[in-house]
Symmetry: C2
Subunit: 266 residues, 2 copies
DNA sequence: TAGTGGTCTAGACCACGTT
DNA sequence: ACGTGGTCTAGACCACTAA
């Protein structure tokens, strides 16, 4: 984005003298609507990703970097901080800011609230088994933070990959939150429909367990009774903290595992 | 920490006139070594937690808040931002900063890299089955980012709660990272030992699945063969991005489930 | 139009880690 | 002692939202 470096008008480059370990050049476009700190953060991230900034290398102190870019130090700090939060950089007092030397090239960016099955060419398909409104049970009401017995939409879906059943999903939503068209539900994911409706997903509370399949579950998922199943229940919240979805899902353990990344809170 | 409010010397309280929706009073102690933004953040968090700031209520604009506290606006912003990152507050341009109205009182603070069993009075106990150095297999070497065949410490532990076996844990660590005393391993957790040794844990990559217990596993965990087991493999990284631990664990699904929270990346 | 948060500046002093 | 990041200030202008 905004990969069109403006022609440098007039401004002569001062003769660079010191040959440092990483005398990389960055530039910001002040006519762009993109925030300056964000432009810098993107360039830094790109340089790290493409190896132009080697793992372990120092970034050069913030004041000098600010001067070189014609930015103030707080702005540069904001850019650096965003990459520290992403786990790409480490700050050390008295030392400087270093590029993290992770073996795993980019242990970040993950767990964007699993679209999982949608992703990575798994040719997913969905079959809607049920899409109705009914009174909320105590459990569902508690999870969604609504009154017991008030209306909720119940959604039951079967998800396939490569023509094989893979998960059974049961979801509960506040009524009227978004239009739940069966055709749309079978062609895309629930979260995408929410985002498209202007809901900003923020966090989810999950519980993952396991149990052996009952006969009915085995039938549904084409597994033997007694086969291992992964169970997951999740409540999802939007950015105002309101619960927008509660679901209880079961997955065939033979075909599915949860992958995610945990960050330690400061 | 630092819960000793200094005696207020002299400073008279200016007569408060306006009765706003939330005319809460905050104070900062400039003689404290605790950063001002952090003091404010803690007070705000406390006020939210104790309900003195009702969900959905506005915080009052940043400039006025700064003036009332005798702080600059960037400092106040930094405090607010930290709570926004925690999911306690929401900012809306043209509207203001609101307290999130989450049903779940505090969906935060979790997933501090599960001490899990250590926590919440589960009277956990650990039995070390194995604590040796051996050459790394290809899988372990890849996970830790070291050369295949180089030395790694192998740790096998059985964890009990209430006298019942509950999980079998197999861990691999770079040699010499921390002293691995069996007595200490049985009285505390691996992560606590790492933190005590000055290692700052940063993130972990996990995979959670399920399978049925083999006969040996059933014996080890006091389950029938064929019982559902939760499996987890995890690689943990410190703040420099170096892998400090790789582990493959199995849990009795009848007694354990993973609980965690996912945050959507901005 | 008025009020809010979003961004940015050009300084300052301090605490810490290295040397 | 020196250099680094950590914190803080007192302003400024802009973009968005609501009334």
């Amino acid at each position: 984005m905004s990969e069109f470096p403006e022609i440098e008008t007039g401004g002569y480059a001062p003769p660079v003298s010191k040959a440092e370990s990483a005398p990389l050049e960055f530039e910001v476009d002040r006519s762009s609507p993109v925030p300056l700190y964000y432009q810098l953060a993107q360039q830094l991230e790109g340089a790290i990703e493409h190896g132009r900034l080697a793992p372990g290398s120092l970034l050069g102190n913030e004041i000098e970097l600010a001067g070189r870019l014609g930015l103030s130090r707080p702005t540069v700090r904001q850019a650096i901080q965003s990459l520290v939060d992403k786990g790409l950089l480490v700050r050390r007092r008295g030392v400087g800011t270093q590029v993290v030397h992770s073996q795993v090239k980019r242990p970040l960016e993950l767990s964007s609230l699993f679209d999982d099955l949608q992703a990575a060419g798994q040719s997913p398909a969905t079959q809607v088994l049920r899409n109705e409104t009914e009174p909320a049970t105590a459990q569902v009401a508690a999870a969604l933070g609504i009154a017991e017995g008030s209306d909720v939409v119940v959604l039951q879906r079967l998800r396939f990959t490569h023509g094989e059943p893979m998960a059974h999903m049961c979801n509960y939503l506040p009524p009227g939150l978004i239009p739940l068209d069966n055709a749309k539900l079978e062609s895309t994911g629930l979260y995408r429909m929410m985002r498209a409706a202007g809901i900003t997903l923020h966090s989810a509370r999950q519980s993952v367990g396991a149990r052996c399949a009952t006969e009915a579950e085995g039938e549904l998922l084409a597994e033997e009774p007694g086969a291992a199943l992964l169970t997951m229940s999740r409540t999802t919240y939007d950015d105002t903290g309101r619960a927008v979805e509660y679901g209880t899902h079961i997955y065939r353990a033979s075909r599915y595992a949860f992958e995610f990344q945990l960050l330690v809170r400061a």
